[in-house]
């Protein structure tokens, strides 16, 4: 079975488990470094994103809260290290939604959109802004020294902006959480922006692979630990022919993997370890997935051909389907 099938299997199971696991009594806690939305409801979800609980702890504004936030962070980091980017590629329930939209697009025969490099570069700061919102605004809410009228209603600010918070609860019909909130001007602005982002994201994910992931602060947080995370993408720079296939199949549009001519470790910050590049690399051993130094998966021309319905020992032409 090609690795992409395994990924779909894990991703689908993880979506079901994290979104509806609570109904079957599964509770993996609310410290997960992945976008399993807290607003799905604790009686329904099987596990939730640590960013919500982190913000709540920070917003408490006392030592106990700060200590709780620190604990949450430590637990999250301990969870990040064994899986690294795979949290985004293999587990994230919102990645599942985006990938389903992507499959829908392919089935309709519509090509994907690739943003030009300059636009991508200009949009990069967005995830840093989200990260700052995530850590700083809850503290402002806790200690409203400036403009307290605004600060008081901040709540958990990143979640209010996060498109996932407006999309995932749709699966559990928690309608109260879904729309624009008119509680105060602050909540109105935040939730209106959030609903706007959610709309953009749904349309965007249909036309552009992994649309949201380019702005997701979780991808950024995970990338801080990529050096000490156990799974790594490795490249043999001599075997690489720079055919650009890995870039074309990369849902995160990572260009550096094929351009790299020196380093062996090509686990670049955006990498979600989806393994598309390893699966479609036509050169033997040019790309590998290693886990703690042990090779789990390697690229090969045989696998490349097999994936395209070409049998290695085939004699004579044969009809085949093209995915």
């Amino acid at each position: 079975m090609p690795v992409s099938r395994w990924r779909w299997l894990v991703l689908t199971l993880s979506f079901v488990l994290l979104t509806f696991g609570g109904l079957a009594g599964v509770h993996l806690g609310s410290y997960l470094p992945t976008f399993a939305c807290y607003f799905v409801g604790s009686d329904t979800y099987g596990g939730a994103c640590f960013l919500a609980t982190l913000q709540m702890a920070l917003a408490e504004g006392n030592l106990a809260g700060l200590f709780a936030a620190l604990t949450i962070l430590v637990v999250a980091v301990l969870l990040i290290i064994p899986l690294g980017g795979a949290w985004c590629g293999w587990i994230c329930p919102f990645a599942f939604i985006q990938d389903v939209l992507d499959v829908l697009r392919r089935k309709l025969g519509i090509g994907y959109v690739r943003f030009p490099e300059t636009l991508r570069r200009n949009l990069r700061p967005l995830r840093w802004i989200f990260l700052v919102i995530l850590f700083v605004l809850p503290l402002w809410a806790a200690f409203p020294l400036l403009v307290p009228a605004v600060a008081r209603h901040l709540g958990i600010p990143f979640c209010e902006l996060c498109p996932v918070r407006y999309i995932m609860p749709l699966f559990t019909e928690r309608a109260g959480y879904m729309g624009v909130s008119f509680g105060s001007i602050t909540t109105f602005v935040l939730s209106a922006l959030g609903v706007l982002f959610a709309g953009f994201t749904l349309v965007g994910a249909f036309f552009k692979r992994r649309f949201w992931c380019a702005y997701c602060p979780m991808v950024l947080l995970l990338s801080f630990f990529r050096r000490i995370s156990l799974p790594k993408l490795k490249k043999d720079v001599t075997r690489c022919t720079r055919c650009e296939i890995c870039y074309n199949v990369c849902p995160m549009d990572i260009e550096q993997v094929f351009l790299e001519r020196q380093r062996e470790d090509v686990t670049f910050p955006d990498c979600v370890l989806c393994m598309e590049c390893v699966e479609h690399c036509p050169e033997n051993d040019a790309l590998r997935l290693t886990y703690g130094g042990i090779t789990l998966l390697r690229s090969s021309r045989a696998a490349f051909s097999r994936r395209r319905g070409i049998d290695a020992s085939q004699t004579g032409p044969r009809e085949e389907s093209h995915e």
Binding site: G111, P282, R308, A312, T315
Partner: protein
């Protein structure tokens, strides 16, 4: 038919037949190579294309291609037959002497000569001729060709890494696609293109199989034979070529399993680098083997590099397939017309490892400045890897063969001697 053309065809037939007959007579030749020898014979000796039947509804469109940057998938998807036109005959290069400057390379002279003469007749058949802008000589050749043929210049960027160049290249291919649609009157749809990609994918898979079989300790196919089989793709339909190549590969695999080979186990493993030998200019490949060298691979754009890289489309969408084609036909290409061309050095380094190369014969076609330019870098790389390099500058003229023989012989002998000492130590 003019007298001049008749004379030309007779001379071309004679020299091509001499090469083919020599290859046919070779000991331990794989039997399945016969298909490719016959194909070359019909093109160069009998002057007919077996793959182009006169159909009652008129023959299919024929698209002539130069270099290796025009996607053949698009030609097939448009229902036309692609033919590779880069010329290799001495007689044609003489005919082209008056059409190009003295210092132009023989590939360009031969191509011009054959076009103007309309012989071999595949040059006269083309409804459209595609010339990618690779080196200066090819670019100016396109201009000259356009006086005789319907020329479509394909603008290839010379710096591959820049995003703008790649986008412009993709646009070129979309333009090429609509030109083909206009020429043939057939729309290139998703289905047709996917089928063409799959068809050529199967052919390339066989080319790759041959490449890997030849990495064995004792290849059951000579380098000159493998190069001829790959070269034949230029004049064949991909389906028939793929079928014949599958059979040849099966035979080679069987022969290797049985330990049968034309080579002596101690023969020095030689790579033919630099400019491509184009049929019937089979001077160097045959010379290396005649002098006892084991020609294991080359980096020729009509040999080992011709069909090496695959198209990596994953979606059944026009956009993805076009992007995959654009990547395939630009990025992994190591033609020295690209600058920077570090990629070529990486490929050579890998080839030395894969084929356990013991000597590199660096072919410079007179007038091909760009391959000669990169000699220094290749020499430095090979010095690092401890592989001796012999530079040979020549053209299609058979007169220098004796002189070349002496040099190749000395080179092969030198490596053999080095090897013997190495073993003794």
């Amino acid at each position: 038919m003019s007298k001049r053309k008749q004379r030309f065809l007779r001379a071309l037939g004679r020299s091509s037949e001499a090469v083919l007959r020599g290859m046919e007579a070779a000991a331990e030749r794989p039997a399945r190579l016969g298909y490719f020898i016959d194909l070359m014979r019909s093109v160069y000796v009998e002057d007919c294309l077996p793959q182009l039947p006169e159909e009652p509804a008129g023959r299919p469109g024929v698209v002539g291609l130069y270099c290796v940057m025009a996607p053949e998938e698009l030609v097939y998807a448009a229902g036309a037959l692609p033919l590779r036109l880069c010329g290799g005959s001495y007689e044609a290069s003489c005919a082209g002497d008056e059409l190009a400057p003295r210092d132009a390379c023989p590939v360009v002279k031969a191509s011009l000569g054959s076009t103007v003469l309309g012989a071999p007749s595949l040059y006269a058949l083309c409804d459209m001729v595609v010339v990618p802008t690779t080196c200066d000589a090819k670019r100016k050749m396109a201009e000259e060709l356009s006086r005789h043929q319907n020329v479509r210049v394909l603008e290839v960027p010379h710096v591959k890494e820049s995003e703008g160049a790649r986008r412009q290249w993709l646009e070129q291919l979309y333009g090429f696609k609509s030109d083909l649609e206009r020429l043939t009157g057939n729309r290139i749809g998703r289905r047709g293109l996917a089928q063409a990609i799959a068809l050529l994918g199967r052919a390339r898979h066989q080319a790759r199989r041959l490449y890997e079989l030849r990495q064995g300790d004792l290849p059951a196919v000579r380098g000159s034979e493998a190069a001829l089989a790959l070269h034949a793709f230029a004049y064949d339909r991909a389906e028939s070529w793929c079928e014949a190549m599958t059979l040849l590969n099966d035979e080679i695999a069987q022969r290797q399993a049985d330990g049968r080979s034309a080579f002596d186990r101690r023969a020095p493993r030689i790579m033919l680098a630099g400019a491509p030998p184009v049929f019937p200019n089979w001077k160097l490949p045959l010379l290396i083997e005649e002098m006892g060298g084991m020609l294991v691979t080359d980096e020729s754009c009509i040999g080992d590099r011709y069909l090496y890289d695959p198209v990596g489309a994953v979606e059944n969408t026009m956009e993805d397939m076009m992007v995959a084609l654009a990547s395939r036909y630009l990025m992994p290409c190591t033609c020295p017309s690209f600058a920077p061309n570090e990629d070529r050095l990486f490929r050579l380094r890998q080839a030395v490892a894969d084929f356990r190369i013991e000597g590199v014969l660096y072919h410079v076609l007179k007038g091909c400045v760009i391959y000669d330019f990169e000699l220094l870098r290749v020499e430095a790389l090979m010095a690092e890897l401890g592989v001796p390099v012999l530079r040979i500058e020549t053209d299609y003229n058979p007169e220098d063969i004796e002189q070349l023989r002496t040099r190749v012989e000395a080179f092969v002998e030198m490596i053999r001697e080095k090897k013997r000492k190495g073993v003794g130590r």
